[in-house]
């Protein structure tokens, strides 16, 4: 049964609502083991938003799907610990996991056109989700609940639109319907997997506003997965940067985005074009390609693409995986880098760059 909206209590033991501890996800394949997520730890409090940033294949979606229990158990090896509201969900039976999914923990997917079933009416798909966790409710009640949710996410004439099929909705409306579907059971933990990536900027802003609104109302914990740092800056309280299946930098949104201490995060931020700079200057990409998860590089996963390995004595970057520890500034801001004075090195590089201007490959 879902909890009433007001009942947003901290779980026993004063632990954050979601605690992921040393999560490892591996997919055994014919070619070898794919190390999709390695030793990932994070936590999210009720009412807070954690942004997970990373490029494709960094493990951000895979780790979230593990929390929602969407991996095929036969084809996935998951280890570590995931506690939702104090309940350990790794190794939980399928029946109990099912009761959690869509109820306590819900997920908003990226491409709403693909994620909604093309053969069923939007209202029926919402009602279905409600009925799955409210077996005593009548179909009428479930339908009304669905319509109310459509209304709540700002779909005009919700009782009529509930009778439409997903393909009759516009892109933004579909994403709203998707959100309504995720929220139909008042989940306390919401995963949003790139919910605005497929939308144009105006609609994107509306959807982000809506999510913030809903979070205020429902007090849910949100894990927001994206590769868009602008979206993170707007939405997240805390940020986790993932690279090659590992967390490489964690901290408050402000700390990570304004004082990055890991060359990868720094590279991501530097690659964003700014409105003030000369538009004819080439963009500054991070060279190279994402690491293979089948044969991860030795040492730091980022070292083959890193500009700053020369700053580290010896071949430490190639040999040894750095720990996720506080930088010299200490505090809650953790990064996985051998550079002892990372912030200093990176801000020097940034200053040098802005003095000389952007020199891209010509």
């Amino acid at each position: 049964m879902s909890s009433p909206v007001e009942d947003v209590t901290r779980p026993a033991g004063d632990e954050p609502f979601l605690v992921v501890d040393d999560l490892t996800v591996k997919f055994p394949t014919h070619d070898g083991i794919v190390h999709a997520v390695s030793g990932l730890s994070y936590s999210v409090e009720m009412g807070k938003t954690l942004g997970i940033v990373g490029e494709s294949g960094s493990g951000k979606s895979v780790s979230s799907m593990a929390v929602v229990g969407l991996h095929d158990a036969k084809r996935t090896e998951i280890s570590g610990s995931i506690r939702v509201g104090g309940t350990e969900i790794i190794g939980l039976s399928e029946t109990r996991m099912r009761r959690l999914r869509g109820n306590e923990v819900a997920m908003i997917f990226q491409d709403a056109l693909a994620a909604l079933h093309p053969f069923y009416r939007v209202g029926a798909q919402l009602a279905e989700g409600y009925l799955a966790h409210h077996p005593d409710a009548t179909k009428r009640e479930a339908h009304d609940k669905g319509v109310a949710m459509l209304d709540r996410v700002g779909i005009p004439q919700p009782d009529q639109r509930a009778r439409d099929f997903p393909h009759q909705f516009s892109g933004g409306m579909r994403q709203r319907a998707m959100i309504a579907m995720a929220l139909v059971n008042d989940p306390r933990l919401l995963f949003a997997d790139e919910p605005t990536t497929a939308l144009d900027v105006t609609v994107q802003a509306q959807i982000l506003d809506l999510l913030q609104d809903l979070q205020r109302d429902f007090g849910s914990a949100i894990v927001f997965i994206t590769h868009d740092l602008g979206v993170i800056a707007e939405m997240a309280d805390d940020v986790l940067v993932m690279y090659g299946g590992r967390a490489v930098e964690v901290g408050t949104c402000r700390a990570v985005l304004s004082r990055p201490q890991m060359p990868y995060t720094w590279g991501l931020l530097e690659s964003i074009p700014e409105a003030q700079t000369d538009p004819t200057l080439p963009l500054l990409p991070i060279p190279g390609t994402p690491p293979s998860l089948l044969h991860p590089p030795t040492g730091c996963p980022f070292h083959p693409r890193c500009r700053f390995t020369g700053e580290v004595p010896g071949d430490l970057c190639e040999r040894e995986l750095p720990d996720l520890i506080p930088g010299i500034e200490g505090g809650e801001h953790l990064r996985r880098c051998h550079l002892r004075n990372a912030h200093e090195v990176l801000s020097n590089a940034a200053a040098k760059k802005s003095k000389v201007g952007r020199h891209g490959p010509s």
Binding site: R101, P118, F119
Partner: protein, 332 residues
């Protein structure tokens, strides 16, 4: 929707006309001599004058176009057909008169058709659910030994020539082991039990042979559907495994299976020569085969016409069914 059906029916009608024209042309421009066939059916001695007389009275010497018009008109109004000095009435829908038995072809088909229809429907009731269920289970268990067993065994059965499968099952199951009674066709209206028991083995053999393709096809379709985003959404909603598989995955996976089924069912309705032949069921498949050997043109043309009608109707039914299953399909 209504306009769509009307247009499809018109198009289907043209297909049927084209088929009958093609059959006519093939027969009349080929080495055929109906007078000879008709004459030999009645007496062993056929002097050329009698053959010529038959050809003359049957209208075979008229231009082909004229004969076609007479034939087509007879479909709607009925006509009299002259065999030498005797005239036989062929009531509408007149598909001609058998050169051998001198019965109207429509009567012969009416007599034979229930057996073919029974075979087709009974086999479809077995192979469609069997194939879809096996395929879905294999897809769900993809990569496991269950999957490999199902795919492997369906491939083995599929690769056995059908006539061999039919003959062997007849030989062992009926003659040697006597598990099944002698297959035969009894009208359902007279004795439903005899209808079932007489056709059970042909149904099973035909159903098994067809189910292998359906299992492999459904498996492929289901594997694809299981990887769809909306199936992941269904699981994320906390629906039970069964609802996710049947209501969400299978419902989508069944669409392409229906297309194949429409075509297969049409061809089954056109007669299953091997099945009818091996199990000694008097359906239109065997009849068509015999009439080709006998150059009994009226039966050949009638069978071709019926096949064309079934293909058209089954295709239309499939397309209408599409729009019922998939709301994105608009029939315009």
């Amino acid at each position: 929707m209504f306009g769509y059906i009307v247009r499809r029916l018109i198009a289907g009608f043209l297909v049927i006309v084209a088929t009958s024209v093609a059959v006519f042309a093939l027969f009349f421009y080929g080495p055929s001599n109906p007078g000879q066939v008709v004459c030999q059916a009645t007496s062993p001695r056929c002097p050329p004058e009698r053959v010529a007389d038959y050809n003359q009275t049957l209208g075979y010497n008229d231009p082909v176009t004229e004969q076609y018009v007479v034939w087509a008109k007879g479909l709607f109004t009925g006509r009299d057909i002259q065999f030498g000095s005797t005239t036989i009435d062929c009531p509408a829908p007149c598909l001609g008169i058998s050169y051998y038995t001198r019965e109207p072809v429509s009567e012969l088909l009416k007599e034979r058709y229930p057996a073919t229809l029974s075979l087709a429907v009974g086999a479809a009731i077995i192979f469609l659910p069997l194939g879809v269920v096996l395929g879905s289970v294999a897809a769900r268990k993809r990569g496991t030994s269950t999957d490999r067993l199902m795919v492997g065994s369906s491939l083995i059965i599929y690769s056995i020539p059908y006539y061999l499968l039919a003959l062997m099952s007849y030989l062992y199951l009926v003659i040697i082991w006597g598990i099944f009674p002698q297959p035969e066709y009894n009208p359902f209206t007279e004795n439903p039990w005899a209808w079932v028991s007489g056709l059970l083995l042909p149904w099973l053999v035909l159903g098994l042979a067809f189910s292998t393709q359906y299992a492999r096809f459904s498996r492929g379709s289901m594997v694809e559907s299981l990887s769809e985003d909306y199936v992941r959404t269904a699981r994320a909603k906390g629906l039970t495994q069964r609802v996710v598989l049947i209501k969400h995955a299978l419902r989508a996976a069944i669409v392409p299976v229906i297309t194949i089924f429409g075509l297969d069912f049409a061809s089954l309705l056109a007669g299953t020569v091997f099945t009818e032949f091996v199990f000694n069921i008097d359906g239109i498949g065997v009849q068509a085969l015999n009439s080709i050997q006998d150059q009994n043109f009226p039966i050949i043309s009638a069978t071709a016409l019926i096949v064309a009608v079934f293909v058209v109707v089954c295709n239309l039914a499939v397309d209408i069914l599409y729009s019922v299953i998939d709301p994105r399909v608009r029939l315009t």
